[in-house]
């Protein structure tokens, strides 16, 4: 088991290393270059040249890359050109917001998607099945930012049910312990803060949930359908076992395995979706920050974001693999 984990960890090194090269080369070659982001409209060419030099942009690429790697290894993702603060700090500052949003989206997706997918599979061919499949296809085919806009225009602007922007109402005072607003609110029993934060999470959470919801519904449905055809389920049914037992013990449990993987793998796309969703709702998380970075060519932030996602994705994959090998002895044997 330990050898399995160590081997998988070692395999990460070339992947991440290659990724860093790819990123470095891409982002270094941005047209215009980062020096324009730092200077006002009427800065002189001399000022620009000076800045290029002070940023080390005139060094040979190899030297720049090695410096880049050394910094990453130290957890230094550079300094944001927009805010002049360390990128890692910027991300850590905004991480709780994005984490809460992502968790909300995953919760919505799981709470609705699992039962929906299961029911659709059990009642294959019924209206419910048709609606679940059609709905999830529609969810995949709707551009996330458009869905977010519609939700905002209808539920925030039109009906006034939810706030249209931010993470908390302005001026609300709260005790900051962990940076996670909801968690802090619960810990300090500031229920109005909790309530307000949840209200602010609802619409962006729903928009962000659209794709995971569709994926989870479809995965669950397909997986349950497959498991129901397995011999052991038929055997269990033939033995006359209690139907509820068969469903929970055999069908649901085995069908959930691939769904769990899917949830793990959704993390990356969730972050990409956060860039679109958060910017629509002015939700102050990593997504809005990266959205502005895209507009402003804040290349240390873009590099950092991609590294962050890739690293998270790779490690979540690793966790999924490990948990799989724990759950399923066949994987370990290979």
């Amino acid at each position: 088991m330990l050898r399995f984990i160590v081997r998988r960890l070692l395999q990460l090194i070339p992947t991440l290393g290659g990724l860093s090269i790819l990123l470095f080369v891409w982002l270094q070659r941005l047209p215009g270059g980062p020096e324009y982001a730092l200077l006002p409209d009427d800065a002189t060419p001399e000022q620009r040249e000076m800045l290029r030099r002070s940023l080390g942009l005139d060094e040979p690429l190899m030297v720049q890359y090695l410096a880049f790697l050394r910094r990453i290894a130290q957890g230094d993702l550079g300094t944001s050109l927009q805010t002049s603060r360390p990128v890692l700090d910027e991300f850590l500052l905004r991480f709780p917001a994005t984490f809460e949003l992502g968790l909300t989206a995953i919760l919505i997706a799981v709470v609705i998607g699992l039962p929906l997918g299961y029911l659709a599979a059990r009642r294959r061919g019924t209206i419910l099945d048709f609606a679940a499949v059609g709905g999830s296809l529609l969810g995949i085919c709707t551009p996330v930012f458009f869905l977010a806009f519609i939700l905002k225009v209808v539920f925030a602007e039109g009906m006034g049910l939810f706030p249209s922007a931010f993470r908390l109402a302005p001026g609300i005072t709260r005790t900051d312990i962990t940076g996670f607003v909801v968690l802090d609110g619960v810990m300090t029993r500031e229920w109005d803060v909790v309530w307000d934060a949840l209200a602010h999470l609802a619409l962006p959470g729903l928009a962000l949930a659209s794709i995971p919801l569709a994926v989870i519904t479809r995965m669950t449905r397909a997986s349950v359908l497959e498991v129901m055809q397995e011999d052991y389920v038929r055997t269990a049914n033939a033995k006359g076992l209690n139907r509820t037992t068969v469903r929970t013990r055999h069908v649901l449990r085995n069908a959930l395995l691939p769904v769990v993987t899917a949830v793990g793998l959704l993390t990356g796309s969730l972050f990409a979706g956060a860039v679109l969703t958060e910017s629509v709702f002015a939700f102050p998380g990593i997504g809005s920050f990266v959205y502005i970075a895209t507009q402003e060519r804040d290349y240390p932030v873009l590099t950092g974001f991609i590294l962050l996602i890739a690293t998270m994705y790779v490690f979540i994959n690793l966790l999924v693999d490990i948990s799989y090998s724990l759950l399923d002895p066949r994987v370990r044997a290979q």
Partner: protein
């Protein structure tokens, strides 16, 4: 003996044709005897069966109709569009600064956009641009993905130790790309090259490479383990011949299905790129994604401007997805019953 399919030149194969033809015939016969394939040589039986099943599926029919209508509109758009999509003929009739827009009327069936252009003509010509973005992006992804995946697959199946090394290297690269969400990959490419139509197509296409590559490699490995391959090897058929004429064609099924699905993804991703300001800036070529992101700011005063292109994107993507999904289902042996 480590060989890769790419190292073979066509003339070389032709010179040795007689011998190969004989051996190929033997392999075909073998596969046929094992009941894995029908007698016409390239697995058309499975496809015919699949199409038969699809004809009875409402999902497939809906998808097919949408796709056919969309492609027809796109191809015939210059004939259908009543006006130039870029002429601001009615420019002095709309006032975006006062929220005064012109809705549907006799001469402009869908009304005017925010600069006084005919919205119907823009939608129709936009279909053509959207199709082009989707097709080219998918082709880019397909081409490079199939190349990488094909080489990797061939190396694993037939290559021995060296082959596995090559496969290993290729798959590390693919895993690297796969570690990033396709949209983010596309954004990076687009931010690198600067916004243009080519950028959008390239960016979205490149983002699809790893999926195609993995898919083809997987399919080839599974084909490589089939009995007919072992048997062919036992009969002395050259490895590259087996790969090129049997494993590869038989592995294309899932890749083709994926192309249909990728078209949908490409259209949606292109729209997201436009929203992020990385879309095609050239007003001469209206594209639904650009139209949608430009009309976003009028959503509360003139929702139609955004809703038409949004519906176009959703319906088209849905069409390709329905078609692709039912094709996949029809081809999947597990779901055949």
């Amino acid at each position: 003996m480590p060989t890769t399919p790419s190292s073979q030149s066509p003339s070389e194969t032709e010179e040795k044709e007689p011998l190969h033809k004989r051996k190929a015939a033997k392999v075909d016969r073998l596969a046929e005897l094992m009941g894995d394939r029908s007698d016409d040589g390239h697995g058309a039986g499975i496809w015919r069966e699949a199409f038969g099943r699809m004809r009875r599926s409402p999902m497939a029919i809906t998808g097919a109709i949408i796709v056919v209508v969309f492609v027809l509109v796109a191809l015939l758009s210059p004939l259908i569009a009543p006006y130039s999509p870029t002429a601001q003929t009615w420019g002095s009739e709309v006032f975006p600064n006062r929220n005064e827009f012109v809705g549907p009327r006799a001469e402009n069936w869908l009304g005017l956009d925010h600069l006084g252009r005919d919205l119907f003509s823009r939608m129709v010509i936009g279909a053509r641009q959207t199709l082009m973005v989707g097709v080219v992006a998918t082709f880019v992804g397909f081409l490079f993905g199939a190349l990488l995946g094909g080489v990797a697959g061939a190396c694993t199946v037939l290559g021995g130790r060296w082959g596995r090394q090559i496969d290993n290297v290729i798959m590390r690269v693919i895993d690297m790309m796969l570690a990033l969400p396709s949209l983010l990959l596309a954004v990076t490419v687009a931010a690198l090259v600067g916004p243009s139509l080519t950028t959008v197509m390239l960016a979205v296409g490149i983002a699809q490479i790893p999926i195609f590559a993995r898919l083809l490699r997987g399919a080839m490995i599974s084909q490589g383990n089939r009995e007919y391959v072992l048997a062919a090897q036992a009969m002395g058929v050259r490895n590259h011949k087996i790969t090129l004429t049997h494993i590869l064609p038989n592995s294309m099924g899932p890749v083709l299905v994926q192309s249909t699905l990728t078209l949908a993804t490409a259209i949606i991703d292109a729209a997201a790129l436009s929203y992020l300001g990385l879309g095609n800036p050239d007003a001469n070529f209206p594209e639904w994604g650009t139209m949608l992101s430009e009309a976003q700011r009028f959503l509360s005063s003139a929702p139609a401007l955004a809703v038409y292109p949004a519906l176009g994107i959703i319906i088209t993507a849905l069409g390709f997805t329905l078609l692709g999904e039912s094709l996949r289902e029809a081809l999947d042996p597990k779901l055949r019953k």
